[in-house]
């Protein structure tokens, strides 16, 4: 579910909202006062807009961008999974949740049925995780691409 309930920014007055989103994506800890100056709105008006966008699901939340290497996750890999017959997204989700090294999971078009983003501490760890993925029911095979550089 990528689109929760309401979706697109209504065109009327959508301009400050878009700018607010850009500013918040660049620095999610800015004060409402600072944001307000940049969009030429009062602090209160700025906060109301941000609160509304949060309630609408336009803003899903705020997070920190943490260097994975600093936490010991030195290897990142994309793992395509090829399944037996059709695999409902629900099942994908469940088994992705069961493996903590899986940081993102998608169902996709094309040859593969799913795509996992996996983070591991080292090659041996990745090998073990791939084994666990392949041991899941209905997973026929995997195709792994290790990230060499992130641009």
């Amino acid at each position: 579910m990528t689109t929760p309930h309401s979706a697109c920014l209504h065109e009327s007055g959508g301009f400050p909202d878009r700018k607010l989103l850009a500013l918040l994506m660049a620095d999610g800890r800015q004060s409402y006062a600072a944001l307000g100056q940049q969009v030429e709105l009062s602090t209160a008006a700025t906060k109301r807009r941000v609160d509304r966008m949060r309630k609408e699901g336009v803003i899903r939340g705020f997070g920190a961008d943490v260097n994975p290497a600093a936490l010991g996750w030195s290897i990142e890999a994309f793992v395509e999974i090829y399944c037996n017959g059709q695999v409902p997204p629900k099942q994908m989700k469940e088994f992705a949740h069961a493996i903590p090294e899986v940081h993102d999971a998608y169902t996709i078009t094309g040859e593969a049925d799913g795509l996992l983003v996996v983070r591991c501490t080292d090659a041996a760890h990745l090998e073990r995780v791939l084994g666990r993925i392949r041991d899941q029911h209905d997973v026929l095979r995997t195709r792994t691409a290790i990230v060499l550089s992130h641009l």
Copy 2:
């Protein structure tokens, strides 16, 4: 460059740092006071730790998690690119920067040479972007997987 300068959390005293990172990843707008309570540290000590982790590059920044659909990006796709000979990451980076619909770019191991994460407004838009990617020098072909669901 995924690892800027210093990297791993020093083990001594690394515990509150890890917890802080987890808390900040879950909600990057919490106050230092609230964070401090959860790690049983004073407000000032909490801020000092967060500031240090920012300087060290452990925390790269803070951002808002924005629903792409709300901005009109209704299609997301992974595009593998297959190149002519070897392609230096620098070149990948340059051409990825040249196409604004490319939101992430990786060089990877395996059959493909690179992987792009692309966001478009609709199928026609995606088709145009794929055309532009294929028109780049040294790009032999692409292999696209459109995201059906994000788990």
